[in-house]
C-alpha cells in the first residue's frame, strides 16, 4: 500500500491538542510524524491499524462484536445503578452517545474530571 499523508492532523494525547501535525502512513502504521512532540510521536506510532486483539471478549473468551454488544446491553439494562465512566480518550461524538446511553440505562456518567 502506498504511503498516505495528512497535514494539520490533530493529536489527542495531551490537553494541548496540537492540530498542526504532519503524518505519513504506510499500510496500517504511521511511519513518520512532523511537528509532534515525543509524547505525540509515540502516540501516533504506537496505535496501528493492525488486528492485534480479538474483536471482543466475553468472560475472557473471544466473541463477535454483536455478541459483546448484546451482552453489554443486557448488563447495563439489568443493573439498578450502572456507571458510565471515562470519556476522556474518545471523540465528542462518542461522548454524546455515551451520555444518551447513560440516560437510557439510568446510570451515573462521569469523566476523569472527578478524580
Amino acid at each position: 500500500m502506498p504511503p498516505t499523508t495528512l497535514e494539520n492532523a490533530t493529536c489527542t494525547f495531551c490537553g494541548c491538542v496540537c492540530d498542526n501535525i504532519g503524518l505519513e502512513a504506510d499500510g496500517d502504521r504511521i511511519v513518520k510524524t512532523k511537528r509532534a512532540c515525543g509524547l505525540g510521536e509515540a502516540w501516533f506510532k504506537n496505535h496501528t491499524a493492525e488486528r492485534l486483539y480479538p474483536d471482543a471478549l466475553i468472560d475472557g473468551k473471544p466473541a463477535s462484536v454483536d455478541e459483546a454488544v448484546e451482552a453489554a446491553a443486557d448488563y447495563l439494562y439489568q443493573a439498578n445503578m450502572p456507571l458510565v465512566y471515562g470519556l476522556s480518550n474518545i471523540t465528542c461524538e462518542a461522548q454524546r452517545k455515551a451520555v444518551a446511553l447513560a440516560e437510557l440505562v439510568g446510570g451515573v456518567v462521569d469523566s476523569h474530571t472527578s478524580l
Binding site: A79, N80, M81, V105, G106, G107
Partner: protein
C-alpha cells in the same frame, strides 16, 4: 409510632425521601407500605425493603443498617424520626423542624441547607454537615446538629445561622466560607475557617491555623457560657471556666474579612 425495619442492606443506594414524619403522619398502613422509593433507577415500594408496623403517626422509627438509604427526613417540618442504626447521605437535608436521632453513624450532607430542627447523631458523621450544596450561596440557616463522634470535610460550609457541635475531631475545611452561626468541634485538621466572613468556630483543643488568621488575645466570652449550659443538658461539655483556662481568639479569614472568629481552648498550665 411507626416502625420500619430494613429487611436487608440494599445492593445499591436506596433513595427514600418519603421517609419523613410529615409524609407518614396521616397515612394508613397500606399507604405507607406503598410509598415510592428508588433503588438506583428502579422504582419500588417501602415494603419491598422494610417491614412496616404501625400507621398514622408523626413518630417514625427506622431499624437496621440504613447506611445506604439516602434522603431520610428530607425537608421534614415536625415530628420525631429515630434511626436505630446508621443513616445514609442527606439525612435531614433541607429540614425545617422536628427531631432526628440516629444511634449509629450518618453519611455526608446531614442537615445540609437545613433551616430548623434538631439532628442528633450518636456515632460519626460524614462530610458537608449542615453545608451548602454545590454552588449554593448558603448552608444551614438555623437549627442544631449534635454529633457524638467525629465528622468529615467541609463541616458547616457556608452556614449562616444555627449551631453544629461535634465532640470528636473534624477533617479539613470546617466552617469553610462560613457566614454566621456557631461551630463547636473537639479538634480539627487543616484549614479550619477558610474564607469565613462571619460566625464563630470553637475548638476544644489547639488546632493548626491558616496564615490568614490573626491572633487577637485571650478571652472567656459570655455567650459561650450560655452555649455550655444549653449543650450541657445534651451531654456536651464546653469548657468556659476562666479558672481552668482561656480561649485563644483569632480573627479572619483576612483573605476575605476580619469578622470571623476562631476560639481555641487552652487550659492553664497546672
Amino acid at each position: 409510632m411507626i416502625t420500619l425495619s430494613l429487611k436487608e442492606e440494599p445492593p445499591v443506594p436506596l433513595e427514600a425521601e418519603a421517609l419523613s414524619p410529615d409524609v407518614v403522619a396521616t397515612l394508613r398502613y397500606d399507604e405507607i407500605c406503598a410509598l415510592p422509593m428508588f433503588l438506583g433507577k428502579r422504582q419500588c415500594r417501602v415494603d419491598d425493603h422494610f417491614v412496616v408496623e404501625g400507621e398514622a403517626s408523626d413518630e417514625l422509627e427506622i431499624r437496621g443498617d440504613a447506611g445506604r438509604v439516602k434522603w431520610i427526613g428530607r425537608g421534614m417540618t415536625r415530628g420525631r424520626l429515630r434511626i436505630v442504626g446508621n443513616a445514609g447521605m442527606h439525612l435531614g437535608a433541607y429540614m425545617k423542624g422536628g427531631t432526628i436521632e440516629v444511634t449509629g453513624s450518618a453519611g455526608d450532607w446531614a442537615g445540609a441547607e437545613m433551616s430548623g430542627g434538631l439532628i442528633r447523631i450518636g456515632g460519626n458523621a460524614g462530610g458537608q454537615i449542615g453545608a451548602a450544596y454545590r454552588g449554593s450561596r448558603t448552608g444551614m440557616t438555623d437549627g442544631t446538629i449534635l454529633i457524638e463522634g467525629s465528622a468529615g470535610l467541609e463541616v458547616g460550609m457556608r452556614m449562616k445561622r444555627g449551631t453544629i457541635a461535634i465532640k470528636g475531631s473534624v477533617k479539613d475545611f470546617a466552617g469553610l466560607e462560613m457566614k454566621g452561626g456557631t461551630l463547636i468541634v473537639g479538634g480539627a485538621e487543616l484549614r479550619t475557617g477558610a474564607w469565613m466572613t462571619r460566625g464563630t468556630i470553637v475548638s476544644l483543643t489547639r488546632i493548626p491555623l491558616l496564615p490568614t488568621f490573626a491572633y487577637s488575645g485571650t478571652c472567656n466570652p459570655t455567650f459561650l457560657r450560655l452555649y455550655a449550659r444549653q449543650l450541657g443538658t445534651c451531654g456536651f461539655s464546653v469548657p468556659c471556666d476562666a479558672s481552668a483556662g482561656a480561649y485563644l481568639l483569632y480573627t479572619g479569614d483576612t483573605a476575605v474579612s476580619d469578622k470571623g472568629e476562631i476560639l481555641a481552648w487552652q487550659p492553664h498550665a497546672s
